[in-house]
């Protein structure tokens, strides 16, 4: 089974968020970068499917040069090779534009299965996998926790709302967006990190893929959200703040 995993490099979760001078995106100068966590779950599912059924795991990622480090991390965990779509204006493209880049890179590979995370931790559109399926003319399903290979294709466990699940049977090739928590993420071993350096990382420039980049939806401006409630921040040492909090909970909120 040939499995493509589409991954995204996103700002590290703990990185401080500052709005850039343009007002259109965050200041990236001091950011640390990491693999989008739902994509890490997609990669893990792909690696486990390969371990069970054989085949190949190919990572695809779009973004500027720096994305290479996240791709190497995926290969250190066990992906066999990778394709990077070099694209310096990923943030200016809408969901359809990004999916067009990935679909163009994926199509040439003729995969049996395409996996990606259900959403990114930065822009959080949660659409890329679904649109890639549409562009490739493949069936898809979303919020998947587990994939089982069958004679006819695959069965997947899909998460629904409020603790419900559903099993869906579908043919291959197919596209799935993975929910987190369906399996346990592995760490890269030292040997894996060493091997990753020798694995194939092919780059292709976005412009070479011949997809229409004009966005239909633009991000005009970003801003800090307005507070919904006026929060009383209790300051002082941990002990002072704790004492003040308990006093408030007792006498003001009356919940103790």
């Amino acid at each position: 089974m040939k499995i493509i995993v589409a991954i995204k490099q996103v700002p590290d979760r703990d990185a401080p968020v500052r709005i850039a001078a343009s007002g259109k995106w965050v200041d990236e100068s001091d950011l640390q970068w990491a693999m989008n966590e739902p994509d890490a779950y997609a990669l893990e599912e792909a690696l486990q499917l390969k371990e069970k059924n054989g085949g190949e795991v190919v990572v695809v990622s779009a973004g500027p040069e720096r994305v290479g480090s996240t791709i190497r991390e995926a290969m250190a965990k066990g992906a066999d090779r990778a394709i990077q779509v070099i694209c310096d204006d990923l943030g200016a493209r809408d969901a359809l534009g990004v999916a067009k880049l990935l679909a163009a890179a994926i199509k040439a590979e003729n995969p049996d299965l395409v996996l990606t995370g259900l959403q990114s931790e930065d822009v959080g559109l949660g659409q890329t996998g679904v649109i890639v399926a549409e562009l490739l003319g493949l069936p898809h399903s979303t919020l998947i926790l587990h994939v089982e290979k069958t004679d006819a294709g695959i069965t997947v466990k899909r998460e629904m709302e409020e603790g419900w699940f559903q099993t869906i049977a579908m043919p291959l090739p197919a596209v799935l967006t993975m929910q987190s928590g369906g399996n346990k993420l592995r760490y890269a071993t030292l040997m894996g990190i060493k091997r990753a350096k020798t694995k194939e990382l092919r780059t292709v420039r976005a412009a070479e893929l011949g997809v229409d980049g004009a966005p239909l939806v633009t991000l005009d401006q970003i801003a800090m959200p307005k507070k919904q409630k006026s929060t009383q921040i209790l300051s002082g040492s941990a002990k002072e703040a704790a004492a003040a909090l308990v006093e408030k909970l007792k006498t003001e909120a009356r919940v103790l």
Binding site: R13, V17, I19, V26, D94, A95, L96, A99, L118, E121, V123, G124, G126, Q127, V130, I131, E134, L135, P139, S141, T142, L143, R158, E161, E162, G163, W164, T167, I168, A169, M170, S180, G181, K184, P215, L216, V217, T218, D220, I222, A223, M224, P225, Q228, K229, T231, Q232, L234, A238, K239, A241, A242, A243, L245, V246, E247, L249, A253, V255, L256
Partner: protein, 323 residues
């Protein structure tokens, strides 16, 4: 192109409340008489009646035997035909798991990009949605000539905003052309895992823990606090994903929805998926090292600091208050 099409979602034979919120969002774009509500399924008479009584401009029953159970293929094919027939300027959905499953594909099929998970609509129209796990808001604009697809976040628009403005709406039926061969997935019946043994929904006090706790071994800090408060322990999704606490203790869109008297969030940044599960709590306390964490947007009281110092201090303070 004219008018707004709102695609209602149903569950258990009733229109879901999130669907009425989508109608409320549509009213930011056009007056109610220009709003058409669509119900979808194999038998939609009761749903259409319910929608018509709400006083939207018009109700369309999108009906076909192949729409009895939701599939992305069936819904995309049916709604594409409906949108071509109605030619609305905007198509508005509630941002549910089901909509996330098909609306991006539907928009792409029509050469458009969905503006998903919108929390506000401002003049322009500008569609506001959250970025960076709720730490920032982005203002999005639709350009180009085609219809604009929008989905709105649960709880962002007031469903009672349009109550009974008009009399009962006219109902029409739209039968899309569907072929069984178009539907490539075979969905099974919904099921639950092992019966839930924890009912967080009825808890009066909850101490909830997030990524900030760093390791499973540190959970005793929040367990001690919960013990002195007589509170249930709950968690955000990553804690349950890691297996540190059972899934049934998860609060949020994929877990339980709670509304206790006291909700104490420890090391939880407050991504929207968590907030939707707890923002109805009477009193919310947040302990987090990041002063810009979105949890502080919904908290009544906050302590910005290291939870490894603050939580034991709160535990001690509760003990002495009780003594």
């Amino acid at each position: 192109m004219s008018g707004i099409l709102v695609v209602l979602e149903d569950r258990g034979g009733k229109v879901r409340s999130a669907s009425w919120e989508a109608v409320a969002a549509a009213l930011k774009l056009a007056p109610v008489q220009n709003v058409t509500a669509a119900v979808i399924g194999a038998q939609t008479e009761a749903l259409a009646g319910e929608a018509a009584r709400k006083g939207v401009g018009k109700v369309v029953r999108v009906e076909h035997p192949l729409l009895a159970q939701y599939t992305a293929d069936g819904f995309c094919a049916a709604l594409q035909q409906l949108v071509q027939n109605e030619s609305p300027t905007h198509i508005v959905f509630p941002h549910t798991y089901q909509v996330r499953d098909f609306a991006p594909a539907l928009a792409a099929r029509m050469g458009q990009a969905l503006i998903g998970d919108v929390v506000a609509i401002e003049d322009g129209p500008l569609f506001i949605r959250q970025l960076m796990q709720g730490r920032l808001n982005g203002s999005y604009r639709h350009c180009g000539n085609g219809p604009c697809f929008v989905s709105v976040q649960a709880g962002a628009f007031r469903a009672d905003a349009f109550e009974a403005q008009l009399g009962a709406a006219a109902i029409t039926t739209f039968n899309p052309n569907l072929d069984a061969a178009q539907i490539r997935t075979k969905p099974g019946e919904p099921f639950r895992e092992a019966a839930q043994t924890v009912d967080l929904g009825s808890a009066q006090r909850i101490v909830s823990v997030g990524r900030g706790i760093k390791e499973a071994a540190n959970l005793n800090l929040v367990q001690d606090l919960a013990a002195v408060l007589g509170a249930e322990i709950a968690a955000s999704r990553p804690i349950c994903d890691n297996g540190w606490l059972p899934m049934e203790r998860q609060v949020g869109s994929s877990g339980q929805t709670v509304a206790p008297k006291l909700y104490l969030a420890v090391g939880i940044s407050g991504a929207i998926q968590h907030l939707v599960g707890m923002k109805g709590s009477q009193c919310i306390v947040a302990i987090n090292k990041d002063p810009d964490a979105p949890i502080f947007e919904v908290a009544d009281y906050g302590i910005v600091g290291d939870l490894f110092e603050v939580v034991p201090a709160v535990t001690d303070a509760v003990k002495s208050a009780k003594a």
